[in-house]
């Protein structure tokens, strides 16, 4: 490994806690009693159900159809009956529920018809569509639809393909284990990626605290028919962040607001590569993934888990729940989601279930004032000034937070980790970002409302003018016709005379309409009526004038 490595700013060294969950190989989790499959498991639009309650489904059958461009399908993890399509608790920081399809397995685990894809000879956009239908999304945590990332786009080619096996967060070891045990399959998936992106080089970045994984991947790489460079990167959190790994391996920085393909790099998690291999070379949709169950458990371990398995059931596979269990986190201790309860299903983003105890995760001490020691700035991998962002977010000066590049924050938590005043810095940034988004949404809605209002005013005005113009035209044609002399046809002359007579009659009638209840009125009332009639006659004359104009 003579490849030159670069450094990103900052980073921290939390205690790793990785050994305990790597002593046992990946076990296949037994079929659970119930599977709750959320319709929204990825970034973008949630899927729409294509099955009904009571329907029998087969393993791998599509149960949720992708909607819109940024979306991928979801599938039944096993064969069984759909028992509900309803709101259910899901793993989300808000604690809110989401639409899920509940399936009761029939125990037979029968597959839907499926087969390998001839990816080398397929039309690229057809292949991408297949991957969308097979539900492949990024398994590193962002769950971004992979088919979109596998589109080389206008540049036609992404020279550098990086497989992210860094796994920098403490406690999590699912990527470590999948690299140790399924290295060849991961590289088969990489072959597909390489084909779709027309990449020149394939790099695998692995933190140097995983020597077995590095060895396994190197052994598999030597058997590969294309060049794969396995690179050991220094163990430093958050070295596994895509932006940080790209900088470490290539020295280039992903431009702010841009994508890594702008600098010729594409990054995928090793788990995603494995899922891609199963999809393309076996036709299997994404219905399971490796999950690390660790923390305050008796036998921490990695399992291959069906999507939709409940956290509670999974945690029990590692032994009875300990008395001092104080909660559950989906993900790692630096960026994970603290859950209200454990009756939530495993989704595509679930890389780890971390069971908490007060000893392992003591409550944070009282937050003291910020003393501007800038340890946070020294730790920030995005070269930000977190203490400035903190002061501005706290002052609700959101314009300044954006000036100081708030949206370049990857919310890795390194700043909060080092803060001696125990200030929950990342919370302030999340708050500021949400406020800014909410304001932009309001502004967009207000802009739209204003546009619609202005258009309506324009339309009404236009219609009024058109009507006035039409009336004016009608009146003028009538006048010209009246003074034009005798028409050619005798019949139309008769018609004309009849119309004229009718108009005269109507006029007389109108003028002749005398209200019948004015005989016995006192003279003052009669005077009032006369005045009103005079006013009316005046207005009529005015209206007639304007139409004629």
């Amino acid at each position: 490994m003579t490849r030159q490595l670069y450094e990103f700013n900052g980073g921290v060294h939390p205690e790793q806690h990785k050994h305990a969950s790597t002593t046992r190989p990946i076990a296949i989790a037994p079929l659970p009693k119930l599977l709750v499959v959320p319709l929204r498991q990825h970034i973008g639009q949630p899927t729409k159900p294509v099955v009904a309650v009571g329907e029998q489904v087969l393993k791998g059958q599509m149960i949720g159809r992708a909607e819109g461009y940024v979306s991928v399908a979801v599938h039944a993890p096993t064969s069984g009956t759909v028992t509900a399509i309803a709101s259910h608790a899901v793993a989300h920081p808000s604690g809110l529920a989401d639409e899920c399809i509940t399936i009761t397995p029939d125990g037979l685990d029968r597959w839907v018809e499926h087969g390998a894809l001839d990816y080398r000879n397929m039309d690229p956009s057809h292949l991408r569509n297949q991957l969308r239908e097979l539900g492949i999304a990024g398994l590193g945590g962002a769950v971004f639809p992979s088919f979109i990332k596998l589109n080389p786009g206008a540049v036609q080619k992404v020279p550098t393909l990086i497989l992210n096996g860094a796994e920098c967060e403490p406690w999590i070891t699912c990527d470590d284990m999948i690299m140790r045990e399924r290295a060849a399959e991961i590289l088969s998936g990489a072959a597909v990626m390489r084909h779709m992106l027309h990449s020149d080089e394939v790099l695998v970045g692995i933190e140097d605290n995983k020597p077995e994984a590095i060895a396994a991947m190197q052994a598999a790489a030597s058997q590969c028919d294309f060049a794969v460079e396995v690179v050991a990167v220094p163990t430093l959190y958050p070295g596994g962040g895509a932006k940080q790994l790209i900088k470490t391996l290539t020295g280039k920085e992903v431009p702010s607001g841009g994508r890594s393909t702008d600098i010729g790099v594409a990054t995928f998690n090793v788990g995603t590569a494995y899922a891609l291999h199963r999809a393309v070379n076996h036709g299997e949709p994404l219905i399971s993934r490796i999950v690390t169950i660790t923390g305050n458990v008796h036998r921490p371990q990695n399992f291959e888990v069906l999507i939709g398995t409940s956290f509670t059931e999974l945690a029990r596979l590692t032994g009875a729940t300990r008395d001092d269990t104080s909660g559950y986190v989906m993900g790692g201790p630096m960026m994970g989601i603290d859950l209200a309860g454990s009756e939530v299903p495993v989704v595509k983003a679930t890389n780890c279930i971390l069971v908490k105890s007060p000893a392992l995760f003591p409550p944070p001490p009282l937050a003291m004032p910020c003393i501007r020691c800038t340890r946070c700035a020294q730790a920030c991998p995005a070269d930000l000034q977190p203490q400035e962002l903190y002061w501005f977010a706290r002052a609700k000066n959101f314009g300044k937070t954006q000036e100081y590049k708030l949206f370049d924050c990857i919310e890795c938590g390194a700043c909060t980790y080092v803060c001696p005043s125990h200030i929950p810095l990342v919370q302030y940034y999340r708050y500021a970002k949400s406020e800014i988004w909410a304001k932009e949404k309001d502004k967009k809605a207000a802009d739209l409302a204003r546009e619609r209002h202005e258009f309506r005013q324009l339309r009404l005005e236009r219609e009024k003018q058109e009507r006035a113009a039409k009336l004016a035209q009608k009146a003028s044609t009538k006048l010209t016709e009246a003074s034009a002399g005798s028409p050619d046809d005798a019949a139309s002359a008769v018609k004309k005379a009849a119309i004229q007579a009718a108009i005269e009659r109507a006029k007389e009638k109108k003028e002749g309409i005398i209200p019948r209840n004015i005989e016995n009125l006192p003279p003052e009332k009669l005077q009032e009526i006369a005045e009103i009639e005079a006013r009316r006659a005046r207005i009529r004359a005015m209206a007639q004038d304007s139409v004629e104009k």
Partner: protein
């Protein structure tokens, strides 16, 4: 429900402040050994006053007193102020200085983390302007003093102003090397002649240079323990040394060697302990360099061309004013906003 992250490094403001106090101990110990125990009285008095005032101020805000007393910041301010004052200064000088440092400079601005100016230096500035006489009555080094005061006699003098029978003030007090240099230069002596006086040691002042060396070692410990970064001390020393060097080269008879300036007065204390106050100092790496260099340069200029014996306090306060400007213009480039080039 918590938000990530759920783990943190074992650190706190208290630990930082405690390490700063620990780094001061060697200097204090050597000071006691070479100048007598009076400094311990002033340190104690300043500490007690500071903690008392801090409690009152915090309770007036309606905050709990314990976390803020335990954070150690008031103690650090008190010690730094006490170490900048003459050890035989009267008790009311200490109290007034501590009051201005803790109440005016710190709490009137918003408390911990909100002060614009270095609290200890505000206290010092108020005292040097208001009570110049008392502020220049420093203890003589024991090797040169006519008499030695023990702890009890020192305390007695500090609180009552009465010396033990028969002793006069000049038996225990003398002007500092910096003060001596200034007055002697005004009498048109050359630097070479002046440095032959007994108050001058090999590099700085007799006894004083050893204390300064201890502060330097304490400062290096702070740097190695990651309490401070190298930027401000290095820039301060460079600013002071270079400015002093330029003046010295231009006229060695009138302007003493820059090494003398580094070894006397509040230079080392200032470089590692005072200028590095995080709250009132610059926060960006480049900003810290500018901040430190500015203090070093101003210290020299005030000492040499100004009217006060030591310029560290005013230099720090002047640069504190510049900090928001410095910070605004030295913001480092954020990831993804630099040019598309491989970084080092």
């Amino acid at each position: 429900m918590l938000s990530s992250p759920y783990i943190a490094e074992k650190s706190s403001v208290s630990i930082i402040m405690l390490k700063v106090l620990a780094a001061l101990v060697p200097g204090i110990a050597v000071y006691v050994w070479l100048f007598g125990p009076a400094i311990l009285v002033t340190l104690t008095l300043a500490s007690v006053t500071a903690l008392l005032l801090e409690t009152i101020a915090v309770r007036l805000r309606g905050w709990p007193a314990k976390p803020f007393l335990m954070d150690g910041s008031a103690l650090v301010t008190a010690w730094l102020l006490a170490l900048s004052l003459p050890p035989i200064a009267p008790w009311w000088l200490i109290v007034v200085g501590t009051f201005f440092a803790i109440v005016v400079a710190k709490h009137l601005y918003g408390g911990l983390g909100n002060n614009l100016f270095n609290p200890a230096m505000v206290g010092y500035a108020v005292l040097i302007i208001s009570f110049p006489v008392q502020m220049t009555q420093w203890a003589s080094p024991l090797s040169l003093a006519g008499a030695h005061l023990n702890l009890l006699d020192s305390a007695h003098y500090i609180f009552t102003g009465i010396l033990p029978d028969g002793l006069k003030l000049d038996a225990i007090s003398s002007a500092t090397p910096l003060d001596t240099l200034r007055t002697q230069l005004q009498l048109e002596h050359t630097v070479r002649e002046i440095t032959r006086l007994p108050i001058f040691g090999s590099m700085g002042g007799t006894g004083g240079e050893v204390v300064v060396l201890m502060y330097l070692l304490g400062g290096l410990y702070l740097w190695l323990a990651r309490i401070i970064t190298w930027h401000i001390p290095a820039a301060f020393i460079a600013g002071l040394w270079i400015t002093g060097g330029l003046f010295h080269i231009s006229d060695p008879d009138r302007f003493i060697s820059p090494w003398f300036h580094l070894a006397t007065g509040g230079a080392m204390l200032g470089a590692f302990f005072i200028a590095t106050d995080p709250v009132s100092g610059a926060t960006t790496p480049r900003g810290k360099l500018i901040f430190g260099a500015g203090i070093g340069m101003l210290t020299y200029l005030i000492r040499t061309l100004g009217g006060y014996p030591d310029g560290v306090a005013f230099a720090v306060l002047l640069m504190n004013i510049m900090v928001p400007l410095i910070d605004a213009y030295t913001q480092p480039k954020v990831y993804g906003h630099k040019q598309k080039e491989p970084a080092e």
